[in-house]
Structures are given as C-alpha cells and as structure tokens.
Symmetry: C2
Subunit: 612 residues, 2 copies
C-alpha cells in the first residue's frame, strides 16, 4: 500500500511538474530574452502564487530586466505571494511626513520610464520591516489589481477589560505577540529570540509603539470623543494578569470597557507606496490592508492618479486599523492629483493632506543670503530648495507674503540646514522666523470624487494645493473635521492657502464624533490668532449641493482668514447617531476675520429650523 | 562707586578686547588666504576658547579651507570649546562593531592628505549626539594635544541604596537627568520638552539604555564578579521613592549596596574617533573622557599609531565610566598598529580588539558563485569584499582553511548580502556555513607597549592580527582575561588566528576579578568544542619575563587549538587582593588540544610553590 501510494505520488508529482512546466510556458508565452518583449510573468522567474517562499529576489530580478530591456509590464497571477526583507533592494529614503531611514523595498521602481505592475488579483503579504513600493525618478508607472497585507502589523490591538484610575486591563490576541519584559510591555513578531543577549544590538524584531487610541468595536470607528494618548515611545509599565491579559500601569487612558485599544507605532518607517520625484503614476484597483506609515505618500511629483484605491483593514474582523498614518498624502506636487472611487477607512490619520513645504529662515548673513531650516523632523532631508527656484517668502505667524526671491545657489549643511543665496538682495522686511516655500510647487489641480472616507483617526481631507480643487460626490464620516483648510509656519510647516475650491454634492454623514475638530468644513489652527484679522490665507471656496447629516448642535462651517466663500443649495438633516458633543452648543456658521463670504439665506434658514 | 566700577569695567573690557585682538593677530600670524599657508588658527574663524558658543561651523569652515588650500595644520588654544550637532557635517556611516547610521561629526576629516589638528591643550566639550572625529579616505593625519568630553554622557550612573528580590533602589545624581514616564525610567538631557506631543516623532533628546553593570566605587572598577544584565532596550519599570531616588522593578540584578550601577546605552552610535579606509593616522596626547561607542575604531586602514592616548573618566569622581564600549578596536587593518604609553581604563568593554571580518557563505548558486552574508549586525554595510581580492575560505565551526579564491565581481544585494563571483570554480568542499575573509587584510604588525589597562568591563586586549605582534611593558588589571586570542565564524564573525606573538615584560596585576574569562592569558570560545582537537587556529606565541600577581588559585594560561607556545622566565606572586573566585580551583596551566607547547619547568615550579 505504501509502495503503491508512493508510486502514485511519484506519478502525481511528475504530472504536477509537467503541468507546472506547461503553465509556466503559457504564462510566460510572451516572455523572451530578446528585446521588444511586451510583458514578463513573475512565474518565469520561478515564483508561483501560494508558494510561501520569498518572492522578493524574483521580483527584484524581473523589475531589473524590465528596466534594462524596457519591458513595459510585469504580471502576477491571482493568489498569495510572500515577501521577506532579507534579499530586498535597500535605500536610504527621506519621505516627507514619514520617517527617514534605510528601507528595504519589495518593488523598487527607480529610474523607470513606462512600467505597469499588474497583480491580476494577487495579494502580496509582507513580513517584517519591508516597504511594498517605491516609485522614484520614474514616469508612466501603473500599479494595478493588487492587494497588500502584512503577516504581522506594525501596530497592535487589545480589547479593554477594565479601566481604572491606575490603568487599563487588556486582552491581546495571538495576532499581536507581546512579552512583559523588565516590567514593560514589548510587542514582538512572536519568534523566539534564541541568540545570547550581548553588549551589541540584537536582531530581534520588535514593534515599538508610541501612542494609544480607543476604537469602538461595534461601530468599527474611533470611540466617541476618545482622545489620543501620545508620548509612550519609551514604553509603558505592565503586569501579566492572566493568559494574554495585561494590566497597563498608565493613568487616565481615554477608553471604556469593550473598546479596542490600539498601540500606534512610534515610527512611520514603512509607508505603503512612496512616490518621489516622479510623474504620471497611477494606482488602480489597489487594496492596502496595512502599512507602517502612510498608505500612499507622493512628494515632489506630478500627475498622480488613484482610482479604486482602498485603504481598509484586512477582512475578517481581526483588525480594526488599516494603515497606521494618513491613507494618502501629497507634498509639493504639481500637474494633477486625482482620487476617484476610493475607500479610505480606519487608518490612523487623515484620509489625505495636500500641501507644500515651508522651511524657516534662521539667519540672514548677507543681504542676498539666508540660512534655512527644515523644522519638522519628518521634513528633514527633503532638499526641495534648488538653484533657479522661485521662492515665496511669508511671515511665519500670519503666512502673509513678504516677498519673492530666486535661488542662485544652495549649500547643504546637513539634512536640516542649508545656506541659500538668492539672485538679488532680499526685501529688507525679510527676517529670521519668516518661512520660504517653492512658489511653483504645490500647484496641482485636484479632483476627489466618489470616495468614501470614514472611521479613521482625525480628519477627512486637508486641502492646501494652490491649483483648482474639486471635491464632489464623496461621503465623509470623519470623527474630526471632514474638509479642513490647514497650513502653518509655526508647527507643521505645511504650505497651503487654497485659491479655487469647489465642494459639491458630498454627504457629510455624522462627522465630528471625535476630538479632532468641531466643524464639518473648517479652517485649521495654523495662523496665529493675533494675525487672523488681517491674514486672508484661503480664498475662493464654493460649497454647494451638499448633504449634511448632524447629530447635535454642530458647526457646519467654521472659518477664519478666508477671502471669498459661497455656501448655497446645501441640505441638512438632524440625526440621533451620537449624544451631543460635550460643552457649549456651537454656532452653525462660525465665520470670523473673513471677507466676501456669502451664505445662502435658504441654507441658513434650513439650519436654523433643525430640531434641537 | 558703581559708576567708577563701571568705568573701570569698561576700561578693563577695552583692554581685554585689545589684548584679544593682538592675540588673535599673533595666533593667526601665519594665516592668510593665499596659498602656501602652513597653519590656520581657529581663532581667525571667530572662535575663542571659553566662549561657550558653537565652535562647529568654524571648525567645519577651517577644515574645508585646509583641505581646499592644502593647509597642513589647524590649531587651537588651551581652554574649552563647545560643539553642538545642529550645524555639523553629516554622513551615513557603517562603523564596524559600532552602530551604523547618519552621524553628525564635529571634525570631518574626509579626503585629506596631510593634516594635523593640534589642540595645544584644548578641551572639546560636545553636546548631544555629535561624533568628535571622522578620518575617512585620508592619509597622513595627526591629531594631538586635545581632550574630548561630553556635557551629558550617553550612559547614566546611579548609587545602589538597596537590593531586594523585586528590584534595586538607586540614587541618581543631577548629572544624569531622568524621568519616570508611564512607569518606565527614561534618561534625558534634562531639557524640558515644551513641544506639544503629537503623532510624529518628537525632537526630544533621550538617552536609551540597554544594559546594567555594577561598579565598585572604592576600587573604581567593575564590582567583584558582577554580571552584566542585558536586554533592557525596551525599558525598565520604575517608581520614584524620593527626590532623585528610584526603585527599578527588575529582579536579580548583580549589585550590592553602595555600588554604582551603570546604565549602558542601547547603541554604539557615537564613537570617539572613527578611522576608515585611511593610512598613517596618529593620535598623540589625546584624552577621551567619554564616547557613546568605542573610543577609537579603525577599519580597513593602514599604519595607525596611538601615543599617550588616554581613555579615562572625566576627573572629579562624578563618573565611573569613560567610553561606553571598547577603548580601541581595529578591523581589517594592515601595515602597523602601535599603541604606546596609553591609558585605557573604565571603558565599558575591552581595551582593544584587533581582528578581521568573516562573512558567511549562505549559498553556492554556481561553481564559481557564492552568496555571502555579513552576519553580525554591527558588520553590516562594511563592504570589504572587492574585485581582485584574495579570499580565505574556512570551515565555520573549526576555522580550518578550506581553500582560497580570487574575487572576479561583487554584486551588492543590500548591506547584509552580496553575490560574489570568483575567478575559478571553488573547491567542491566549500559549502553553505563556511566563512570567507580578506586573506590579505588583518595583517598589521602590532606593538602594544607601556600601556596601562585596567578597571574596564570585560577583557584587556584581544589579539587576532596575522602580523608580528609585540606586547611588552604593559600593566593589566582586567576583570576578565588580560590577553585573549579570539576569533570565530559562528557568533562574532571576527577573523583572527595569530602567527607570531611576543608577550614580554608585562605585569598582570590581579586580573580575573570579574566574570569575563578565567585565565590571565587565554584562548576564547570561538572554535566549536567538537573541532578543537584538530584545529590549530593560533600559532607561535612566546610569553616571557612577565610578572603575574594572582589573588587565588588561578589559570595563568588557558589555551586550546594552539600550535607553538613557549612560556618562560615569568615571575608569579600570590596576593590577597580579592576573595578567591567561586567554584572549583582551576589548574594554573590549562592546555588542551595543542601542539608544541613548552612551559619552562622553572615557571611551573614557581607556580606550584605558591602559597594556597
């Protein structure tokens, strides 16, 4: 019997190999080493879906061949491919609003002109500190029909069993391996570290955390009015209180029993898609279940299109968080930014933020020279000031323009500081504390259409591009402000100041159930209060034909320092989705220090007639 | 009176300025912008000793001028100069046996041929994460008459008040600012972090720790038989028990009341002097009070001389630790290594270690191709395998030679892995798990003469160079083995295997009062026990005219796998310096699996006649 089975097994094995060979030939039919090949199949590099071996070297080799031989397409088959960092391409990256460092990258698309990666329904499961996609110094890049997930997430989740004055009791599932080590909770990858402990760094993989936030497991969104707890980078004292149960010795955590408490990572080291100094990049039918940083971050790039991109937790209900920072983010981008039919939910920060960069003037050693500092630690190394560039110079607190200058030369001091020489003496009023930006970046025309944005930490979309912006047909269910006009030269150093915005036909579905703002559409806190009277940073905003569903007295529109805003033909409905927010009832239209603001009397009437 | 005093003060001030001006002129007398200048004085760059402003930009500008105009000397004046990292030169460095990363560097000596930095008695006080000296791709470099210290050390120290089963009570002085944060002890620079806590990394400076070790405050050395406590990188739970008093909730710490417990940093990010791919580098009359890593680390360099280099804690008794890792370390060096009249004390690891690098063969994809991994995380990125190089190939566990090969090409996969093609098919027996080394590096002739080595963690000197080694006239008071022959292809991946060593006229003064070895002169644990019978890794060692002072039954010489050793004309004396080491009394000569070992009968007799 055994013998027969073996024979059968051998025959089956032979048969399988034969089928595999035929398949390989069929799949790789259009592959050849000669030039002019239109497509490579990863199968011809020895990698099959479902194989559970490391696909990284094959993908690296395939992409290298695509680049060298100008093959414009790399295809996969439906099913799962696994990726480990060991053999991955490596590069030190400065990624705006994420963390710099040496990254290992599964799909390094560097220096391409014309490449499509078509997953054809494939799921890429990454292990450890490995970044999925880098698109750098490339153009005409299309990534489509693929899903990205991680075997172990960069964040961890636990169910709240009890909350007391002295701490929180949690139950933590097997999906989030941890240890209590020297009285401190440490998240790991669950692999036993058998190496002897020595005076040098261990190779053990730990998942450092830096913050806590409670989510509501029934609504699957941030818990009602839950507050962030930051500053945990050095660890939290903890005691084991049962199998996979711990007591965190941390006071005043904003959570209630049955909430899911999320340990957010202390870093943004592993964003999903980094697009840098590239043009014409499209993500189409791409699903991102997780990232250890932002989902998609594009910097100093042109013409970025996201179509049916879904940032959403892995199905099955084991996780409540998708990406651990913003779903998308665009810095100093030009041309077009388009996001259509996308889903951005449950990520640990905003759905998008489109802005430029300000750097602070720290000295004026000569009439034509300024020293400049990239102030935000996650902007360091983004050397955006280049010879020939037109600089916009603004007053730091008010963001009002002080003048312009053209760069003659830049001397880099280090990743934070540079010495900039301009072509003519600077206006006398330019001084230390002022900010400079690239006057011609952050000018993309933006379309955000038919997207669903919900359940994530913080805000919906932050608009700061100077181009034409259209936001239409979207549904927002954001715990903070759904649409925010930000920008400041004091804290985040994000250049903004819109010029032409249309917000049309959107549904604002019970937003502001959290602590990150209190208006459905608002202006952020970037401009110094004493300067708001004169500053008119944001301009020409049209808000029409939208539908606001609000669960209590709420600010529909909260703005300051705006010049030109029309609010018309909007509908509003009262709901009982949440208890009213604590504190004084706000005014529906909170408009100060602004010019040319027109609220349609019909809209105003509708709002005033809402049931209390 | 006030008026008069003011006038007097003004006159004095004028006088001082005038004197300063004259001095500046005198000191900078040989400075001019024309070519042919022989010396630059830092004073001519606007920096005076005692000024307490940041000397970093001036030093950077001065060195840049030296390099560009081939000025061979930069001088300072006696007194204190302060350095901050803000404006410093920056470079990503891979430093063997230290930690890689972007470093800020006060004295960047990159690409120099012929430069002397003469401190003339100056003390350089560094603030924060700033590395003092980098010598890279340079030759004929002389650094002299200078002292380096840090305003805040990378390690922290506390006085033990009590030791119990549940933990340790400590008193921590103002020199080591700390906080108890979320129940975890966190060391800081004492500056208040006023920035709002957010979802991005803070700029706060913290001093992460990873290990504990007790020191004896009376003897000012590692406490008798104290053991390292590693693995604290994720923090230690702690409670405040009084002003600057804390209870650490950590069991079984090896310390007693009144000991000084040292929190060693979790990194080796900031070594003192990094010498990389350079030749003819001399440090003369240099004092290093502190470093956040090794004191002097030279890699892939030639002809390094240390003369009157002192690694020692800052005077005044406020600190018990000097550098936080080895005092010196030499990796793949050639030519000469000379250390004369040096003092290496109280550093947190060995006084020196001279070795090569092994990388592990992880695959053999073709008869002439191997994939190779740099295994030790602190060797990653040291791309020592280059085309044309002669490779030594050894069996991993035994270190016996398997063959040689010459490199044709190297394809770097990332900082850990490479694909190496050799010029001819490899011997068949070469297999995965074997190790490769540069056969022509780690060949320096070594002289260590008239040095004092004492009170530091671990061993004295680790000898692994294949060149001629002379160790004479030194005094060792090491808690572990004073002179160790190491090397392994399994854990540290340090290539060693001496060929010609003379150990003559040294004093071994009550060594082995700690846990890091049990012989005055010994062979380390690198070769796999089952291979020791046949391996003869270390060869030709002469030990003569030394003076051994031992405090109890002790192994004077503990060796295995040695071919050729003579021990003659040595003196020995019994002391009562410490209690006998716990455990079974060792044999004075512990010699196994070795050939051609000659112990002079007179020496043997002397040792046998020692009082018990």
């Amino acid at each position: 019997m055994t013998k027969k089975y073996q024979t059968h097994a051998t025959a089956t094995k032979f048969c399988r190999l034969w089928i595999a060979a035929i398949f390989t030939i069929i799949l790789a039919a259009d592959y050849a080493s000669a030039k002019g090949v239109r497509s490579l199949d990863i199968a011809s590099f020895g990698v099959q879906a479902g194989q559970k071996t490391d696909a990284t070297p094959a993908v690296r080799a395939a992409l290298e061949q695509c680049r060298k031989e100008k093959v414009p397409r790399l295809i996969f088959s439906p099913g799962r491919y696994d990726f480990w960092p060991d053999q991955a391409f490596e590069k030190y990256l400065f990624v705006s609003n994420n963390d710099e460092g040496i990254k290992r990258i599964a799909f390094p698309l560097v220096g391409f002109d014309g490449i499509e990666v078509d997953g054809r329904g494939a799921t890429f499961v990454l292990h450890g500190f490995l970044m999925p996609f880098l698109v750098e110094h490339s153009r005409n890049v299309r990534l489509k029909n693929l899903t990205i997930d991680y075997a172990r997430t960069f964040h961890s989740e636990g169910k709240v069993l009890a909350v007391s004055k002295t701490g929180v009791d949690l139950e933590i599932s097997d999906d989030y391996p941890y240890e209590i080590r020297n009285g401190v909770i440490v998240f790991t990858d669950g692999k036993k570290d058998d190496d002897p402990k020595t005076s040098v760094r261990s190779k053990e993989v730990v998942y450092p955390y830096g913050m806590l936030l409670a989510f509501d497991p029934k609504r699957r969104e941030t818990a009602y009015m839950a507050q962030d707890r930051f500053g945990l980078e050095s660890g939290v004292a903890a005691q084991a209180i049962g199998p996979r149960k711990v007591h965190l010795s941390i006071e005043q955590v904003s959570a209630t029993v049955d909430d899911i408490l999320v340990f957010g990572p202390s870093h943004r080291d592993i964003p999903g898609f980094v697009i840098s100094e590239s043009a014409k990049v499209t993500l189409s039918s791409v699903t991102l279940y997780h990232a250890g940083g932002m989902g998609v971050i594009a910097q100093r790039s042109r013409d970025i299109e996201l179509e049916n991109v879904r940032v959403t937790p892995q199905p099955g209900g084991k996780r409540i968080v998708s990406a651990t920072a913003d779903a998308t983010h665009f810095v100093n981008c030009t041309g077009k930014i388009q996001m259509c039919d996308c889903l951005f939910e449950n990520q640990k920060d905003d759905a998008t933020n489109i802005h430029g960069l300000y750097a602070r003037i720290t000295g004026k050693p000569a009439p034509d020279k300024i020293t400049v500092q990239l102030m935000h630690p996650q902007q360091a190394g983004i050397d955006f000031i280049l010879p020939g560039m037109r600089l916009e110079i603004v007053d730091g607190p008010s963001l009002t323009q002080r003048g312009e200058a053209t760069v003659r030369a830049v001397q880099r001091i280090n990743k934070e500081y540079m010495l900039v020489t301009v072509t003519a003496p600077l206006p006398l009023q330019v001084q230390t504390g002022d900010c400079v930006a690239d006057a011609d970046a952050n000018t993309a025309d933006v379309v955000i259409r038919n997207c669903t944005i919900r359940n994530n930490r913080a805000r919906g979309i932050l608009l700061g591009s100077r181009g034409k912006i259209v936001v239409e047909g979207n549904t927002f269910h954001s715990p903070g402000t759904a649409i925010l006009f930000e920008g400041d030269g004091r804290f985040w150093f994000e250049q903004a100041g819109v010029r032409d915005v249309t917000i049309r036909g959107n549904t604002f579905d019970n937003c502001n159930f959290g602590v990150w703002g209190n208006a459905c559409i608002g202006v952020g806190s970037g401009i110094s209060p004493e300067c708001r009277k004169t500053s008119r940073y944001n301009r020409n905003i049209l808000i029409e034909n939208n539908f606001f569903r609000v669960f209590g007295p709420q600010t529909v529109l909260g703005i300051y320092s705006v010049d030109g805003l029309t609010f018309r033909n909007n509908r509003i409905e009262k709901t009982n989705a949440y208890p009213p927010r604590p504190g004084q009832a706000p005014t529906p239209f909170d408009i100060v220090d602004s010019d040319n603001v027109h609220i349609d009397p019909a809209d105003q009437l509708l709002i005033s007639q809402l049931p209390k």
